[in-house]
């Protein structure tokens, strides 16, 4: 069942084995951790491994989807650092390649791939969460560009990132009055207020915009076309690019190892949950490779992405809950090996919420895939 990817897997494995930092880096959502993760991204980029699926002109190597999936498997198996640039790499980059101009791609993608510019997402607002089309932050026409005003919130990575992308209201229409814009997080009129997440780190921020100037060259697509473009980004996020199976395969393998070492009555009572987590990870992996084959053969990923989003996010929570139950009284420890499981667990809890809550996804599945009435 191992996908045929020649020596690519071995190349990635060898490089990671030689370069992945021995211990975990400081948390990515701290100033020091962010800098260390940025440095790691530069090391990856120098080895030609940061954005393998991108075209060579932007710093990639034009790798196939299958090769990308293999890279991800090796990356997670090696317990390599979290990708600090993932919002840009996996959400904005596919959007630029599909909807941006050649000039935007040439200007923005290479520094993104080298982590010289790290991007944050700026979708949600205090009054626009699941109902994303309700955004109020405005883009007002001005000489040569737009002036942004309003509040964005729950912006992942925004506390330390360089730039952000998001939707702004440029006209009255609920969907056709939205424009997709890029802005600098240190531009005049921008105030970033870090928000501590459940785990204590400032992984979120609130962004206040007060007449922030954005030149026309930083509009993605046409003004008023933002909703369609953002939905295609959301499709990428829910689909293959956000959560590759490597995360769950690696975690499931570690869970089985944890179970094996635990032994005793505790382990006996948790055996079935460990097995189900392993089976779930295997199912997601096989399903993703099948999807990659379908896309390589010219197929597309639409509302089907919602099936995967619910599946992996619930698998992730169940898998980490099982690990914590195995750890028993040691599960609350924030340091050592236990702390890594706890970090993974806290991270997993966000999965059913971001990228469209699982309730939104289930409604999409019911209406668009099953054809149930609205």
């Amino acid at each position: 069942m191992t996908p045929d990817t020649g020596g690519f897997r071995a190349e990635v494995r060898d490089w990671l084995c030689a370069h992945v930092p021995a211990g975990p880096l400081p948390p990515v959502d701290t100033a020091e951790g962010f800098a260390r993760h940025r440095a790691w991204e530069r090391e990856l980029a120098a080895a030609g491994l940061s954005v393998i699926s991108w075209p060579p002109r932007y710093g990639g190597r034009g790798a196939s989807l299958r090769e990308w999936l293999v890279f991800e498997e090796e990356y997670y198996a090696a317990a390599a650092p979290v990708r600090v640039g993932q919002n840009g790499l996996f959400l904005l980059a596919p959007t630029l390649m599909r909807h941006g101009t050649a000039e935007q791609c040439d200007r923005l993608l290479p520094p993104m791939g080298r982590a010289d510019e790290v991007w944050a997402q700026a979708w949600s607002e205090p009054e626009a969460g699941s109902d994303l089309a309700a955004v109020r932050a405005s883009a007002t026409r001005t000489e040569g560009g737009w002036l942004l005003s309003g509040t964005k919130t729950w912006s992942s990575r925004a506390a330390f990132a360089d730039k952000a992308f998001g939707l702004f209201r440029s006209g009255p229409g609920r969907h056709d009055g939205l424009t997709y814009l890029l802005f600098g997080l240190r531009a005049d009129g921008v105030t970033v207020l870090p928000i501590r997440q459940l785990g204590g780190e400032t992984g979120f921020a609130e962004i206040f915009l007060d007449g922030v100037f954005v030149p026309d060259e930083d509009v993605v697509g046409s003004p008023g076309d933002g909703w369609r473009i953002a939905m295609s980004t959301a499709g990428d996020e829910r689909g293959l690019s956000l959560r590759s199976p490597g995360r769950f395969s690696a975690a499931a393998a570690r869970l089985v190892e944890l179970w094996r070492r635990a032994g005793g009555a505790e382990a006996d009572s948790l055996r079935d949950r460990v097995v189900d987590a392993w089976i779930g990870a295997q199912a997601y992996r096989l399903h993703t490779f099948a999807t990659a084959d379908r896309i390589a053969a010219g197929g597309t990923l639409g509302a089907e992405a919602s099936l995967g989003k619910v599946f992996w996010s619930e698998l992730d929570v169940a898998l980490h809950e099982t690990a914590l139950d195995l750890l028993g009284p040691r599960a609350e420890l924030r340091d050592g090996e236990e702390g890594r499981w706890l970090d993974g667990y806290l991270f997993s809890l966000a999965g059913p919420i971001y990228a469209g809550t699982n309730e939104i996804q289930r409604t999409v599945i019911a209406e668009r895939l099953l054809g149930l009435p609205r």
Binding site: M1, R271, A290, L372, P373
Partner: protein, 331 residues
């Protein structure tokens, strides 16, 4: 390897679907439940015409020597239509058992008939299959133990939760094979039958989802179709997710027939089908809780097959045995 089904396999599934959709399988299942096998056996011959019964039989014995994925595709469609009779036994396990015994005499005696659809076979394989299903409709009954494979006759009859299925004690007679050769062949047959059963479950689950979606779109309460209520939508979305992620495990198991993969597929397909059954009954409401409605044919078949060919606990134990030995390679 490829991770998707071929165009030929999809075409095969769709031909089977067309044949079964036009054939009033629920009517045949009801007659089967009343002890009249004739419409079901007529259907069996039609399926033989499309090659279903020959798939698992080697070409040198008059079969097609097809891949296990082909068998899975066929059994999934049979499950989709709640086909009565010993499907996993006759279309997968027994042909594999006899072929794996590699005894020319035994092969010549039964395989051509099985391939042609003239002979229907069933078996008991304790403790996984304590009874031989539908032995009264079968021309060949086997009792497969770890030590020996015997020809058997049907003993006491037991009723199944599935009215279109009867369970028979298998009384072993003539020994056909014993020792290591028999044990190896029985092990192969066990994987083949489990795989086919998992495929039937996935197919039945798909049918239950389809019936639920269609009912929820038609049935109105409070002045609107019940399918427009979020509580109904989300239940059925969960059913769709379960089925969607069981299928790749099933297809992977077909490509290896390894105990770990077959058991993972059986666990997932059983879980997905049971979830589909619970949701289907809930969405249909009281009418689904009757024998008047055809839904019961699928609901009861899922419950019968869920424990058949090894319990969930047994299959989870097999998966753990395979993955906990320290070799965690994702192959």
């Amino acid at each position: 390897m490829m991770f998707t089904r071929s165009a030929e396999q999809q075409q095969f599934a769709s031909s089977l679907h067309d044949l079964l959709a036009a054939a009033d399988v629920p009517g045949a299942a009801r007659r089967w439940a009343d002890g009249d096998h004739s419409p079901g056996l007529a259907l069996w011959r039609k399926l033989a015409g499309l090659g279903v019964t020959a798939l698992a039989v080697p070409a040198r014995s008059g079969g097609l020597g097809a891949s296990w994925l082909d068998v899975v595709v066929a059994c999934e469609e049979l499950g989709h239509h709640a086909m009565p009779g010993p499907v996993a036994e006759s279309a997968a396990a027994v042909p594999e058992l006899i072929a794996a015994l590699a005894d020319e005499r035994l092969s010549a005696r039964w395989l051509p008939g099985l391939a042609a659809g003239d002979l229907i076979a069933t078996l008991a394989l304790p403790p996984w299959l304590p009874y031989a299903a539908d032995a009264d409709a079968a021309g060949l009954v086997l009792l497969a133990g770890p030590g020996a494979v015997r020809l058997a006759t049907a003993g006491t009859r037991h009723r199944s939760v599935d009215p279109a299925r009867s369970l028979w004690q298998a009384r072993g007679n003539e020994v056909l094979a014993q020792g290591a050769a028999a044990a190896g062949a029985v092990a192969r047959a066990r994987e083949a039958g489990t795989l086919a059963c998992a495929a039937q479950l996935l197919g039945a689950g798909r049918a239950l989802l389809g019936a639920s979606v269609s009912h929820a779109g038609r049935r109105s309460q409070f002045g609107r179709p019940i399918g427009s209520f979020q509580a109904v939508k989300h239940q059925l979305a969960d059913v769709a997710i379960g089925l969607e992620f069981a299928r790749p495990l099933l297809d992977a198991a077909a490509s290896t027939l390894a105990p770990r993969d077959v058991s993972a597929a059986k666990v997932a397909c059983t879980g997905a089908a049971q979830r589909a059954a619970r949701a289907a009954l809930q969405v249909h409401g009281a009418i689904g809780y009757t024998q008047e409605h055809d839904l019961h044919l699928w609901l009861t078949k899922v419950r019968a097959l869920a424990g058949g060919w090894g319990s969930q606990a047994e299959h989870r134990a097999r998966v753990m045995a395979a993955i906990a030995d320290g070799s965690l390679a994702w192959n």
